[in-house]
Every structure is written in C-alpha cells, then in structure tokens.
Symmetry: C2
Subunit: 485 residues, 2 copies
C-alpha cells in the first residue's frame, strides 16, 4: 500500500509525531496485550545491531553470557526490603500452572538480581571464583499503567549484567567501567551523547547503594534515562548468602554490581534524530545502510534492474549493508517516501538516463554541511565513496546532537524561581548547586516537573562549581535538572 | 576447585552420565524454580553459536526477525480447537498483575501461532504483502512434570518461524525448505545427522495439518525429535481472520507454516558425541576451539606464559576461537581434566622443554583414525595446521555419528513380535511397513515403548519398500520406529 500521508510535524505535537513515526516506519506496533508491543523487523533489526555492538563491548571487557529463569519465587523478591518495595507494585504473577494452583506464586522477572545472586551463592566458594562477570539478554516485565512504544512498555527486551567481586573497590570500578561502556556505545553507535553521573537517593535503583546513569537530551528537551549501572554493595549478597573465602581465609560477603540497557534505546534513537519526514537511523545501526531504487520503466527496465543488482553486489563487497527495492507495484516516489520514513541513511537511484551516463543519483537522508542532499555521481565514485559517506553521516549525527544538547543547556540558577524560569523558557538540562536536601528536590519537582537527572561526572561538570543550592543553602555539589521521560 | 572425580560411565547408567556431564561441564545447572534451569556460560556459548549459524541460514532464505509479546490472552489460545487441547494442560497462567486481578487471564506463550497470526491479519491486505516470512528468538513455557536439563524443561529458549503465503503449494514448499535448513544445520554444525520425514497423525503438532520432523539417534539408541516444521494450512488463518485480496481480486485465507528448534539441541549434541571423559563439542559450535595450557613452573614461567599468549594471538589471527588457561591455582592435570570434560576440540600444551625445542604438544579431544591423540609438533606447523585439524575433527564427528546410526538401524519386521525383538536386541531405528492404522501404532507403543518417529523422506527410504504392515495388513507406507526422548 502506498502511504504518502505526511506525519504530524514535531513542532505541532511532538508526542503524536513520535507515535506516528514509530508505527509508520514499522519499527513497532501495538499488540492485543495491554502494555506489550510488537517489535517489527525494521525495529528489531536496529535492536539486533545494538545487541551485537554491546555484546562485543561486554565480551571485550571480560563478560560472558548466561541465561536464568524467567520466573522467580515471590519469596526471593521479598528478601531485599527496598527491592520489593520498588518492584512489588509492577509485578505480573503466575498463580496457576500445569492445571494446578501453585503453592508459591511465581513472578515474571522485573529484573533478575534475586534469582541470579541465589545461583552465585552456589557457584562461588573462594576468592579464586571471583570476579564473576555475567550478562543476560532477556525479556522482563514491569506492569505499567501508562505505556509508550519502546519508551515504557510492560514487557521489554534488555540486557542485565550481574557481577560479583571480592572488594568494594573492584565492584565500584566495574560499575563505572560499564557506565563508560554505555556512554561509548551511545555516542559511537546511536550518536546520542549522554551525560553520565550519579543518581540522587530518591532516584536510585531499588536495592542499590549507588546508581549511575546515562541521561540523553531528546529533541523536545526532555531527558531520557538511557542506561543505568548500579553498585549494589553487599545488599543482595547478605540476603542470598553469597559469601566467599578470602585470600586470608576469612568468610566474607561478595560485592555486587548490575547494569542494563533496553529496547528503550530504540525510542531514544528516534527522539534524538527523527525529523518530520520520519526516522533517521545512524548508519552503524541501520539494518540497511543503503537502498538502491531502480527506476525501471519501459524497454530499459531489465538493464536498470541489472545495474541495481550490480550496485548491490559491489556495495556488499565493500562491507555496506544494502538492499535493492525491486517492488513492481510501487512508484519510485512511494519508495522514496517509505525509505525516508524508515530512515535509511543513503538512497541510490538508477534510471535509464543514468545507465547511459554511467552515473547514479545519491540522496542523503539528512542534510550535510557543504554537500547537496541529492547528487549525480559517476557510478564508480559513488560506490567507492560510500563507506566514507556513511562514516561522515554517523559523525554528523553525533555532532548535531551534541550541539543541540549544548544549545539547550543552561548553567546556573540562584533560586527555584530562576530554575523554573529556565524551564518555562524551554531549557533542556539546567545545572545548579544543590545542598543534598531531598526537600529541595521535591519542591522543584512540584513546581517545574523537573527532577535531578544526575550529579554529573567530571567530564560534564561546570568549570566553576556553583556555591549555592537553588534552595538557598550552601551547595554541596552540582546537579543537572531536566524534565524526563 | 579441582574436580577430578570420574563420571559415571555411559555403559553403567546412561541417564546418570547425562545429568552429571551437563552439570560438571558447566553447561547448565538446576535452578530454585521447579522445571527451569540455568544455562551457564559454556552452555550458552554453544547456544549462541547455534543461534548465529541458524540466523544466517534463516536470513539467507529470506526471513527477518521480529519480537511478539510473551503473554497471550487465554481467549486466543482457545480459538483453535486442537491447539488448545494440545497446550492447555501445560500452560502457566498470569492471573494477577500490577497489584490487581486481571479481567482475562494471560498465558505465558507455549508457542506463538495465535498472537502472531492475529498481528499478521492486521498487516496483510493484499497478495502483494505475501509471503510474510518472520522468525522470533524467544523463551517459551510448557509446564512439564518430569524435566531433564536441556531435553525437557518448563522454560526453554527457541526460535519459532511463522510464515504466511498466498497458496498451499508455497506454504508446503516453505515447510519443506525449513526442514531442509534444519537438517543441513544439524549435519554441518552439530554433526548430528537426523532422519527427516512426516509425522503420523498421532504425533503431529496441535493445530497443524502436517508436521515434519528431524529425528536424530542418540548413543543410547533412543531418538531425539530435534526440530519440527509444520504446514498449518488455513487453520489459524480462519480463526484469526488472516485474509488477503488475491491477484484475481478475491478475498482468501492465507496459508501458514511454523517451525522451531530449541535449546534441546544442546542436549542432543551432548547425547550424540559425549564420552566417559565428558562433553565433546563439535569445533563449529565450540565457544573455545582450542585451549592453550601453559605449564609454567620455576624460572621459565614468564617465558612459557609469553609463548602461550603468542600462540593465542597467532591462532586468533587465523580465525580460531582460542583461550589461554593461565590460572595459577590449578595444576596442569586439573586443567586437562576440566577442558576434556567441557569438550574443547584441541588442547595445546607448552612447557619449558617445549620452549627450547620450539615445539608444542597438541592433544585432540577425540581419537582420529591414523593420528595419535597426543602429538609433539613444531610450533609453526601446529599453528598452520589448526584450521584444517578443526575441519577434520568436525567431519570425523559427523562420519562417526552417521556410522553409529546405520549400525543401529534395522530394516524389516514382519510382525509386531519381530519389531519387539529388534528393540529387545538394542536396535535404534527400525524400518517397517505400516497400513496407516493408528491401532497398530498404539499396540506397538504398548508392547515396545517405541513410536513412529516419521514416515521418512526419499533420502532415507529403504530401496525396497516393505509390502506388509507390522500389523499384518497391506503396507501403505514405510515408517521408522524408535524409542524416543
């Protein structure tokens, strides 16, 4: 079916644009199950590329994959006090299986700390068994009342790393290392540059001692918590008797970390790069980096199709992910619309006239400085230049996102009033001093709907640390506020 | 910890051997959740290699991946009459979520035909939208009373392909194509050569018109149903209103297929190749194809470790998956035991004496004809010959499994008595004629515990088709009987 209706422009209704573009780019669809979505091939292909890149980064940093049960006994979840308080309201519970009522209800994992550390306690005896560095790719379930495609769904796909260490220092180092891996991945693959930093007490993971996060600024100037890494201390080790014999022969509790990113990242990609024509997929994540559209009319049809296929083979050999769109029943224009909506980085068109001139038409999905979006190029040059062009597009998307973030960041506010003014004025991130008083956090949230996204890491701190908290007290630290997804 | 206890020999207690070897090779472990297991890194690494190979084969045959919800409304499962009869006794049911009782219970998918075809009915309008060729990698749940690691667990990991076609012929062709893909994969990667063929009515998938399967013979002469491919006809299309407008402008129901393999294949690999020393992993599936063990004592320790690392780098460059086992607290002997138990195809040892002679010790996990298991080789030769050695090991495992299958196959039985004698005598597969009468199937099952594994494909048929059914009637077809997992 030809679908050439325009999308609701972002400026008119950003939330409506987002839903439309996710559906019409065929990234995902609503399902008949409340709160669960279907990830369609184009969206799943992007997720597969994310998975592969992350998995390589995890393995490079010494992690292995494993798989733990979907169902967790309710009593496990209840062991860690903060953990159960955080997750109990969102649990989906199996009460009945194999035609019988269960003696103990089982919950569908909302996260797997409890089941995983119960296994670790069986596997770890000595300091020689540490560190234990595992990751799991899995589905999890958190019953949500208000859901949005990719950003907040009851079921989602993610990875969760769970590690055990002999010392607090090592565990802390691991927590930070994985936060760094996430930052690298978001910058270099999604071209979505996050701030990183420590969460405040009120925003940390239920059961963690400290939580760190990646916070990325979306086009509507709201922040997306895009990945988290937690230092769990010995909270879970104590509940699940995860002990080891130290080198000195003492029985000690292990130190744990956990860290995760999810299919939410696909939503982050859309909100970072999409435009009024559709999704924009960074080349490193695109299931197809180039689409070749043969414009095959009349008697030259066969030759044009052959040329398209020859381009495909040449590009494939050059390591480019490429498809030919040879569908007969769609006009070239309809195909152009569709691939722009889906966000393929580069389109090549070839028609009878191009054949004679040994040229192709190359169209970039986004405008690059100093370059026309649509160019007529000799075929050889187009093919040879393509890997470099994809790299330039990737770099451009990152630079554009960094620039947008900086343009929408405000530094300094002497009071909650000033902070509120910044948000009234459309600010994204606002840096201020903070005393550490949760009362200030609550008041700001009430007034502005903004929360502390993080206490930023050194890379992101202001050159002059603020002296006063927005609440008026002496500032103990600098924090970054934003309205968040 | 050093684990040098011997395994229970296969000849003494095959079932005990299997459980021990799976646990002690650290492929998997029992979990605190009844019927669910934990897949440990070594087992999961094998599954990842299976996934990657299958995924490539699926993509080469035009399929794309997608992801559908874990939870399915009970009413969906109930729509297809045979489907619900087959699966209802095994369902795990969520009755409660987000702190409330659900209006309609949701089941954890035992398989996804119903939810997937309900989505297809939304996506497919015209013959131009067909064929629709999707695959999903997912966890599924079938509540089992008696479970065995990998072979039968309540939760398992699998892939399920679901396709929709405009004609019965195309769907049948797809069903057969994917059966062929499975056979290729099992032969070339797992070195586990299956018979393929049609299931009898009593053994087909609940909801299918016809089921095909891959049946592999394990070392205890029991058959493992290792993969299935189903022609679903229009059964689900009619229940989920999956219609399309044909080229002639008629409204028609689509034709569906589904096909799947699961983590059961890891169990099949163990049961096909394992020996009394442990698991044997075919090189194409091994997370590590080569392990280098430095025997680093005394003053040459540093140089030996350097040599091991240099071997690792050379082999990595040659495309070999290789690890160095540099653990200090284990003796070389303990490491040898461990890697033999885990089934690494080739071990390289390097010690101070080898250093001086520029040689390494190469040990094959299994005996190859015309070759010593343990060889002293010049370092260069060992490195250069390794990819070829891995190929030879892979080919040897397949040849050995084919030979074992043929040696344990009997052709012909004039009566149920004769068939029973074959099984008494330890036969694996037995070929006989069959009238098609389900009564004969039942009688044989009662007498011998054997069932019809399949009506074999041409590749596997006897050169002279049997004239009489074991029940005495005229034979309508040839069938293969076996006791099965």
């Amino acid at each position: 079916m030809t679908d050439d209706r325009r999308l609701t422009p972002r400026s008119e209704d950003f939330a409506a644009w987002y839903n439309e573009v996710v559906l019409r780019a065929e990234l995902a669809d609503y399902s008949p199950v409340r709160g669960s979505m279907v990830i369609r091939p184009w969206g799943y292909g992007i997720w597969e590329n994310m998975q592969r890149a992350l998995d390589d980064l995890f393995k490079e940093t010494g992690h292995e994959n494993a798989y733990f049960p979907l169902l967790i006994p309710m009593s496990f979840i209840e062991k860690e006090k903060e953990h159960v308080e955080g997750f109990k309201p969102e649990l989906a519970v199996v009460t009945h299986a194999g035609g019988k009522d269960l003696e103990e209800p089982l919950v569908i994992r909302p996260t797997s700390e409890t089941i995983i550390y119960s296994m670790y306690s069986k596997w770890v005896q000595s300091y020689r068994d540490l560190p234990l560095l595992l990751n799991q790719w899995a589905n999890v379930m958190r019953w949500e009342l208000r859901t949005r495609l990719f950003l907040r769904t009851s079921e989602f796909l993610w990875q969760e790393g769970h590690t055990a260490h002999a010392t607090a220092e090592e565990a802390e180092e691991e927590t930070r290392r994985m936060l760094g891996v996430y930052r690298t991945f978001m910058e270099e693959w999604i071209a979505m540059p996050p701030l990183t930093g420590l969460k405040s007490e009120s925003e940390k993971f239920a059961g963690a001692v400290r939580s760190y996060s990646c916070e990325a600024l979306m086009q509507d100037n709201r922040a997306l918590q895009a990945g988290t890494s937690h230092f769990l201390g010995q909270n879970f080790a104590k509940q699940f008797d995860l002990t080891f014999q130290s080198e000195a022969g003492e029985e000690e509790y292990a130190w744990n970390t956990s860290w995760g990113v999810s299919t939410r990242l696909v939503g982050g990609m859309v909100l970072t790069h999409g435009d009024d024509d559709g999704v924009v997929v960074p080349p490193r994540l695109a299931p197809a980096q180039v689409v070749v559209v043969p414009i095959a009319r009349g008697e030259d049809g066969g030759a044009v199709r052959e040329k398209a296929e020859s381009l495909r083979l040449q590009l494939k050999d050059a390591g480019v992910r490429v498809r030919v769109d040879a569908r007969d029943h769609l006009s070239p224009g309809a195909k152009f619309y569709e691939w722009e909506r889906k966000g393929v980085p580069i389109r090549l068109e070839v028609g009878p006239k191009d054949l004679a001139k040994e040229q192709v038409v190359l169209v970039n999905r986004v405008e690059l400085e100093g370059e026309k979006r649509k160019q007529f190029l000799p075929e050889d040059e187009a093919v040879k230049s393509l890997p470099g062009r994809l790299d330039r597009l990737q770099a451009h998307l990152l630079a554009r996102a960094v620039q947008r973030r900086e343009e929408n960041t405000r530094r300094g506010a002497a009071s909650i009033d000033e902070l509120a003014d910044h948000f009234e004025d459309g600010a994204g991130f606002v840096y201020t001093g903070w005393s550490g008083d949760p009362g200030v956090e609550e008041e700001v949230k009430e007034r502005t709907k903004a929360t502390i996204r993080c206490i930023p890491d050194p890379d992101f701190r202001s050159s002059t640390p603020p002296e006063r908290c927005v609440g008026g007290e002496k500032a103990e630290m600098e924090v970054v506020w934003a309205r968040a997804y």
